[in-house]
């Protein structure tokens, strides 16, 4: 049975927000493995760097890897870590149906 994310486990979301990179707890790593799985039905969310070291925007890849990558919205993020966390929030919502307020 594939692992499903428990929307009540906000402790895992808080762990990620505190330290998005490096060693994670086993349970958080399972959450991330689901979020980053090779096949993503809704199209993979990516960070589009608009200005080097300064600005990023959310993009979503098409199922066809050769297709253009569309911007998700007009928001501009000022750090890569900031957009990493936003991708986590959006995936949490997509996968659990709950808005993550963390």
């Amino acid at each position: 049975m594939a692992y499903t994310i428990d929307p009540k486990r906000l402790d895992l979301a808080r762990e990620f927000m505190a330290k998005p990179y490096g060693l994670h707890s086993d349970e958080l790593q399972r959450v991330l493995n689901v979020m980053r799985a090779p096949m993503q039905r809704s199209g993979r969310l990516v960070a589009l760097c608009l200005r080097r070291h300064r600005e990023w925007a959310l993009g979503r890849m098409h199922q066809d890897p050769l297709a253009p990558i569309a911007r998700v919205d007009d928001r501009v993020f000022r750090s890569f870590e900031e957009i990493e966390k936003e991708i986590f929030r959006l995936r949490w919502h997509e996968l659990t149906g709950r808005v993550l307020d963390a």
């Binding site: 060693l23 990516v46 993009g59």
Partner: protein, 719 residues
């Protein structure tokens, strides 16, 4: 978008050489500026080692008229036919084809055709069906089978045209499924003054045994006619290692492969009995064409640049710039044509040489795998990022592929060429390979150590003679791709008393081939196993350039452990760690390495690349694979994350517990050993090692250890 692109005809140069610089202003700039620069440090990241690029005064530093140059991507075979003999009034065109994208629109298979003048061709139509197209003076007749060809299945296809009766017969067969379509037309084709083409640059798939006969054959005759009866009968199993295509009919309608379609691949006769095209060429009588194949962009030269005779050896670039369309995106109106200046032959100008990993840079040239590989994000354990360069590559398939990519039809890309704009071999890009390697040059520059630059390309060609003048050779951070000639040369250098500093990780990993006659292109076939983004297909493990088996050097009898004591063992990309001293570091033979380093000191728990000296790809000792018995393990890394895992070739089967938390083999081993003739090897086994050199203004234990080793290695006193 990137607004200016460029490349040169050379990448390894010497003082006095003349480079042809080719430029395209992609957004329509009317002029561009060029400037010769020396690259000391390519890393412009905030908190990085510090971007250092110096302008070199040169008469070529000025403005030039701008223009846009196009790239004709896609492979074909051109058969020149000045006499017009490949244009019989009646004809039969036949071939075996294995289309891989029959649903992707019009693709030419075989014929003599151009949009303006017309002609005739066997093709796939917009519906994916086999079609004969005949055009004359604006009038067009298409005769289609009406049935779509099947993807990745061998078909026999043929078209006959009888000029007297106007009868056309189409044959589209797969095994017992035989489709015959007959029509009569009242149009004869024009004969354009263009070459006869096999594939048209848009066709994706394989073609085997294409023939043209000077009359309309019956179906039975197609099976029984000899090649001597053909006007041309191209046999792709001849000359597989070349771009030459042989007509076996005796009529000398030989052709040339354009943009390196893939050869040495399984044809319609392949049964699995033979695994190499050299063993049974008849089983390898196909060529795989792709719409994104590219060897030579064939741009015109915008200006030439002659290197001054007194130019010091180093890494240089022509920095190109034009007025940006959007002022705040000025970075995108700047390009670098990077090249390497070695000293004049047999005239070393320094006791140490840095061996630039030009084969590795080429293997990664214009790679797309960092976002297209479905495993990329889960391997990196972080979000995928596409900068302006990557977004541009995504939008521009005409810039070609790397050896990490798959073609647009999903088949593996085995070749990579530098005769095109290579947009990721430049400063102000990722700190990976080239960018990371400049951390080493930056450190040498800071210490005042003179260094000559030599390259993989030259090493392949000149062998040990290139290394001999130097007391020490320093590698890059990730010298991953080598030919047998290169490995043999390094081994002979070390065995003969040379000193080698391998300050990287995952080195000497993939068997690579250079083409014997075409400059600037390599081949990599990722056979059997290894950390891969694509794999060579069954029966296709032998490289077309030289017939040798592709794959990992550890599977081919030359494991990196034999050369540098360690070899690739594990990988992760989310963080980096540090080393702890091991008992071997307290051996008297290693005392010089650890001068000024405390016994319990963590080594490299800092750095601008992921925060540690042990990261990305890690190497370890393995005596069974060849680590010399006398090797001292000086230090090993620890504390790697759960995103670090063992490499696939170390696993006979998959199992849990292969990550940085659970498995003790997830580590980098730093080693030292001396050789019979008093040479020596020092290896760090980590890609991020060099990213720690500049920490604390170069005052740190990574820089100290590296400096201690270099100082002793430059001392002629034997080990």
């Amino acid at each position: 978008m990137l607004e200016i692109l460029g490349y040169s005809d050379k990448i390894t140069t010497r003082p006095g050489d003349t480079l042809e610089i080719k430029v395209s202003c992609e957004a329509g700039a009317k002029t561009f500026n060029a400037e010769l620069v020396r690259i000391i440090c390519a890393d412009d990241f905030p908190g990085g080692a510090g971007y250092k690029v110096e302008t070199v005064a040169h008469e070529s530093n000025r403005a030039y008229p701008g223009r846009r140059q196009v790239i004709n991507v896609g492979s074909s075979i051109q058969v020149n036919d000045a006499q017009g003999t490949l244009a019989p009034p009646s004809f039969t065109l036949q071939a075996f084809i294995y289309p891989t994208t029959p649903a992707h629109g019009v693709q030419g298979i075989l014929g003599r055709f151009c949009d303006k003048m017309g002609g005739y061709r066997l093709m796939i139509d917009a519906q994916g069906a086999l079609t004969l197209e005949i055009v004359n003076d604006g009038e067009k007749k298409t005769i289609s089978s009406g049935i779509a060809l099947k993807s990745r299945i061998w078909h026999f296809v043929a078209a006959t045209f009888d000029a007297e009766t106007g009868e056309v017969n189409l044959y589209q067969e797969t095994g017992s499924n035989k489709i015959v379509h007959t029509e009569k037309i009242s149009l004869t084709p024009a004969i354009p003054s263009k070459p006869f083409l096999i594939a048209d640059g848009k066709y994706n798939g394989r073609i085997d045994s294409p023939h043209i006969f000077p009359r309309a054959l019956t179906r039975r005759e197609m099976d029984t006619c000899s090649v001597a009866e053909a006007l041309a009968a191209w046999d792709f199993s001849i000359g597989i290692s070349t771009a030459d295509v042989t007509d076996a009919s005796g009529n000398n309608h030989h052709g040339q492969a354009i943009n390196l379609p893939t050869r040495g691949i399984c044809g319609r006769n392949w049964t699995g009995e033979f695994m190499s095209w050299q063993e049974k060429p008849q089983h390898y009588g196909a060529i795989h064409f792709h719409d994104d194949d590219l060897y030579d962009a064939c741009w015109e030269t915008d200006f030439t640049l002659t290197l001054p005779d007194n130019l010091p050896s180093g890494i240089y670039a022509v920095r190109l710039s034009c007025a940006p369309s959007i002022p705040e995106h000025a970075d995108e109106a700047e390009a670098f044509v990077t090249f390497f200046v070695s000293p004049s032959l047999r005239k070393a100008t320094a006791p140490v040489a840095f061996l630039a990993s030009t084969a590795t840079y080429l293997a990664y040239a214009n790679s797309h795998h960092g976002w297209r590989d479905p495993l990329a994000e889960i391997c990196y354990n972080m979000a995928l990022q596409l900068g302006p360069t990557e977004q541009f590559l995504q939008s521009r398939p005409d810039l070609g592929l790397s050896t990490y990519d798959v073609h647009s039809d999903g088949s593996p890309s085995y070749y990579s060429s530098r005769l095109r704009p290579v947009v990721n071999l430049r400063p102000k890009h990722r700190v990976w390979n080239f960018g990371a390697d400049t951390h080493i040059l930056n450190w040498l520059h800071m210490t005042g150590q003179t260094v000559d630059i030599i390259t993989d390309d030259d090493l392949h060609e000149k062998g040990t003679a290139l290394l001999k003048p130097y007391r020490t050779i320093i590698t890059g951070t990730h010298p991953e791709y080598h030919t047998h000639e290169m490995l043999r040369a390094i081994k002979a250098y070390v065995d003969d008393g040379g000193r080698l500093m391998y300050v990287g990780g995952n080195g000497f990993y993939w068997h690579t081939a250079y083409h014997s006659t075409l400059p600037g292109v390599i081949e990599v076939r990722r056979a059997e196993n290894g950390s891969r983004t694509q794999g060579a297909l069954p029966g296709e493990y032998h490289m077309s350039f030289n017939g040798r088996m592709g794959g990992l050097w550890c599977n081919l009898g030359f494991a990196p452990q034999k050369l540098v004591g360690i070899g690739y063992g594990s990988t992760g990309f989310d963080s980096a760690s540090y080393y702890r001293r091991q008992p071997g570091s307290f051996d008297l033979r290693a005392a010089f390495i650890f001068e000024g380093i405390g016994a319990d000191e963590k080594i490299g728990d800092f750095g601008s690349v992921m925060g540690g000296a042990a990261g990305y790809e890690l190497d370890m000792i393995d005596h069974e694979l060849g680590t010399p018995e006398e090797t001292l393990v000086l230090a090993s890394s620890e504390g790697h994350s759960n995103a670090y895992v063992l490499t696939p070739e170390r696993l006979l089967c998959a199992y849990p517990g292969i990550d940085g938390i659970s498995h003790s083999d997830v580590r980098a081993d730093m080693v030292f050993f001396s050789t019979i003739k008093r040479g020596a090897v020092f290896s760090t086994g980590s890609i991020t090692w060099a990213g720690s050199l500049a920490h604390n203004k170069f005052d740190n234990n990574v820089a100290r250890i590296t400096g201690n080793v270099l100082k002793r290695f430059l001392d002629p006193k034997p080990f």
